[in-house]
Symmetry: C2
Subunit: 226 residues, 2 copies
């Protein structure tokens, strides 16, 4: 019997690495998709992606450049004129780091690849987590995307979207990662810098709070801890 | 009052050029999106895109390269090992020229751009036309994509997808193009070659039949006419 195939979106960050470990534990043969979209920390994330994929034994990888998202602009992650906002985990505002419709662009690529490979599952480590507030990280969005895939691919194609972290807190993600032996020490989360994590951007703040609440120490280096 | 804004997908082909002429006639301020996806006739289509945009007075243009679709493969349009099938307009099979999930990739880019520009409309010249059979050219697909946009963009974003040609025959498209003075003579439709249209691929066959049924002569040159 053929092993079931999945495409896993892997940024090199903590969430997508735990997501990949979950897909692996569920018995999928994984093809890993990494996206460069002109983000500030592109090189560092690519290194983390390869380190994590090595660690998990994933050999089929595709790196896709969608630098047009940086040309389109509208986000502090890709536009140097928009500052990366300091985390405000209590705010309801969509952070400046929101890249317009990024996840739809990434999932469209993954779906094209899945249709050609005959993969039946897309795994994405999106998290609704209080405070992140990106519209394209909510379950309703992924459900709508899955329905759209059904209508936009060949009749014999059957692709489901799995978001195993969607309702987890960062604390739960850290704990799940440790349980599955996911290589958290190889991941990169900081939105602002590539050498030492800043400790104050949205992404660092959420990660640090998660480790703290899980009672586990984060072994990567930080410049500042709030 | 600000003029309403639209993104129009423009390949340089006949359908999307008529679609752009329709959007213009409806009073939209148009930004034109052209996609290179590693198709055989990429250079020729880009030239047609610029010629048509010049003719329609569209100055805001973006050309995006999604060559990863060629790396992903699965289509005769991007993979030289898969022959471009001769047209069989009576068949129910999906033609080899189907590029897996191409329209979703293109619409995702258009949506990102629309969200940043504040455009409220996406125009795409997709046609359900008997015989083309691409799953991502059907109204149900576009309706599902529109619902997905609503859930995946900021709450204040409102983007609708318009497919004014979806139920038209190629004959009707030719007639509509002539009525609107769309520059059909500058468009390029052939999937197989870049100098003189082959006349026998799916796209040429549909175009030629449309002109013939409309009783209008197509002024571009063909190598062979079936």
């Amino acid at each position: 019997m053929n092993q079931k195939k999945a495409i896993v979106m892997m940024s090199g960050g903590m969430d997508s690495s735990v997501c990949a470990a979950i897909a692996k534990a569920e018995g999928y043969n994984i093809s890993a998709l990494h996206i460069n979209y002109g983000q500030r920390t592109q090189e560092r994330e690519l290194r983390a992606f390869n380190d994590v994929a090595d660690n998990l034994g994933i050999s089929q990888r595709m790196v896709v450049d969608i630098g047009y998202l940086a040309r389109i602009g509208g986000s502090s992650l890709t536009d140097n004129l928009i500052p990366v906002s300091k985390a405000d985990l209590k705010s309801n505002e969509i952070p400046t780091s929101y890249v317009p419709f990024r996840n739809a662009n990434i999932l469209a690529i993954a779906t094209s690849w899945a249709e050609v490979l005959g993969a039946t599952a897309l795994f994405i480590g999106a998290v609704e987590e209080d405070g992140s507030g990106y519209p394209d990280c909510r379950s309703e969005f992924f459900e709508a995307f899955e329905r759209m895939i059904k209508l936009g691919t060949k009749p014999e194609t059957s692709i489901r979207i799995f978001t195993p972290l969607i309702h987890l807190s960062k604390k739960d993600i850290v704990i799940r990662g440790i349980e599955l032996n996911a290589p958290l020490h190889l991941t990169w989360s900081c939105y602002a810098s590539e050498d030492i994590a800043c400790g104050v951007c949205d992404s660092c703040a959420l990660r640090l709070r998660g480790f703290e609440q899980a009672g586990i120490s984060d072994t990567i280096q930080y410049a500042t801890i709030q």
